[in-house]
């Protein structure tokens, strides 16, 4: 760092140069403040999904499914299966087959959940009805929040 000295150093110290320097300082500070405040303000405003979707997620809207139909939705990093039974009830399960982790699907023609890989069959309680899967599908809790179908870990 330069030491303050009593002598005048050669070089212009005109008022213009001073004004220019102060201008740069001022606008530079402003720019820095902006560069600091912009990320901070963006940070403070919450993102679209307001919390980590590990324990609950919106699987769809009312009206997305007809009775006797199913659809795949994303739960965390895994697929989930949302089914609307013939009676109009919503059921949700993990769509990962416990046998060899293929993605299961709802078969409206059988009224059951089916895994295409090795013909595993599950009923609407998630229980294994036939085939090689060693255990049933994890069932999730379904709630309605307005028009949203919210699925959460039981």
């Amino acid at each position: 760092m330069p030491e303050p000295t009593a002598q005048h150093q050669p070089g212009p110290s005109s008022p213009l140069r001073r004004r220019f320097l102060n201008f740069i300082l001022g606008s530079g500070t402003f720019a820095l403040l902006g560069a600091v405040l912009y990320p901070v303000l963006r940070f403070i405003l919450p993102p679209e999904t307001s919390e980590a979707a590990t324990s609950s997620v919106t699987a769809g809207q009312v009206g997305d499914l007809k009775p006797g139909a199913g659809k795949i939705f994303r739960f965390g990093n895994q697929p989930g299966l949302l089914v609307m039974t013939a009676g109009g009830q919503y059921k949700a399960f993990s769509a990962v087959c416990p046998h060899l982790q293929c993605t299961v699907q709802y078969r409206a023609d059988m009224g059951q959940i089916w895994c295409a890989c090795h013909n595993g069959m599950f009923n609407l309680n998630g229980q294994v009805v036939s085939g090689p899967p060693p255990k049933g599908l994890e069932e999730f809790k379904v709630d309605l929040r307005g028009d949203e179908i919210v699925v959460s870990r039981a």
């Binding site: 901070v40 405003l45 993102p47 980590a52």
Partner: protein, 364 residues
């Protein structure tokens, strides 16, 4: 000063009509910083203060999204760095600034030691300073656990295990730190409480004391300069030293954001209390010297348990370090004190050397 601040004068007048700002005016007009060949070290205190402010600001921002439970902590940090706008920046600045601050604090402390700044009348400044370093290490230790990842979990486990060897109160200390016998979610919540409430409160109080003392007593000159033949030069704090301070802080800010963007802190995997301890667990670098020292001391020394001796030694060394102003009689009398200079050099070698050993140790 310049012509382009009529507004400030108006504002200033309004405030001064209501509040006595003479102390501040006096500070601005009168405070000086000694100028000599060791003056460079004077910048480190302000640097640490700047980094502390960065920590408080980024810490408060992180508080808006962080969840201090073992079920949600990891996911909340993951959420911050992946989903929240600029969350990656805030989190990485917070992690890096913590390390930089502690590094700067060590430099500040050792430079103050070698310049004998602790001598009369500045003993309390020294004591409060060493305590502040301890608090910062506490901040580092408690903060490190908060993401609840594998590395932090085991580092905390190993770290808190050591207090068990403190005589008489060791086990109670362990229970106090861990919130139980083992490191669990209770530990996390407790560490969170320390990190955002207890430590900030105590640090603010001690820091205020430390800064007040410095303002009140002015900056100390090393004995060699004090006794020297050259005329004593001073630099006004405002604006000369302050501008230089600001430049230093600006550079550090640049370093911080560069580190955040190019060397981001990894989150790793979520802690699993039932997993076996991975090989090569090490604490953060600022604890490495103590950790390596504990490893170096043999299991048994003259019928005493090695670990106990090591902790006793470190405890005694720490106590000595805090009480140095009262032990260094020569410096107190204003005389040169080469013995303590050597003690300082040895201490630096000890800490730096063992830290290096720990760093260079190959990880399995």
């Amino acid at each position: 000063m310049d012509a382009e601040k009529p507004k400030r004068n108006w504002l200033l007048n309004w405030v001064e009509a209501r509040v006595d700002l003479s102390a501040i005016r006096h500070f601005i007009d009168k405070k000086t910083v000694p100028q000599h060949r060791h003056s460079i070290w004077y910048y480190f205190g302000g640097m640490a203060l700047f980094l502390f402010c960065v920590q408080v600001a980024t810490g408060i921002l992180l508080l808006l999204y962080y969840r201090p439970t073992s079920e949600a902590a990891f996911e909340s940090v993951q959420f911050i760095i992946t989903r929240v706008q600029f969350g990656w920046l805030i989190r990485n600045v917070h992690s890096w600034a913590a390390n930089l601050m502690i590094g700067v604090l060590f430099v500040h402390m050792f430079s103050a030691f070698l310049m004998k700044a602790y001598r009369r009348p500045r003993e309390l400044t020294w004591v409060s300073g060493v305590l502040l370093l301890g608090l910062s290490l506490g901040f580092g230790f408690s903060g490190y656990l908060l993401p609840w990842n594998e590395l932090a979990f085991f580092a905390t486990k190993v770290g808190t295990e050591i207090v068990n060897d403190v005589p008489l109160i060791g086990h109670w200390l362990l229970l106090f730190l861990r919130g139980g016998e083992e490191v669990t979610g209770a530990t996390l919540t407790r560490f969170f409480g320390f990190h955002v409430a207890v430590l900030p409160m105590v640090t603010t109080a001690l820091l205020a004391l430390h800064l007040l003392l410095v303002q009140n007593q002015g900056m100390s000159r090393p004995p060699s300069v004090e006794k020297g033949a050259e005329p004593k030069r001073d630099m006004p704090f405002v604006p000369h030293f302050l501008l230089r301070d600001l430049l230093g802080w600006l550079v550090i800010l640049g370093v911080l954001v560069s580190l955040a963007a190019f060397s981001p802190w990894e989150l790793g995997t979520k802690a699993d209390p039932f997993a076996p301890t991975p090989a090569g667990i090490q604490p953060e670098w600022y604890f490495l010297f103590a950790f390596e020292f504990l490893k170096l001391v043999p299991a048994e020394v003259l019928s005493f348990e090695g670990e106990f001796l090591a902790i006793a030694f470190l405890g005694a060394a720490g106590l000595f370090w805090i009480l140095v102003p009262f032990l260094d009689r020569r410096a107190a009398a204003g005389l040169r004190s080469p013995l303590f200079t050597w003690i300082g050099v040895l201490a630096i070698a000890f800490v730096a050397g063992l830290t290096l050993v720990g760093w260079l140790r190959p990880t399995p």
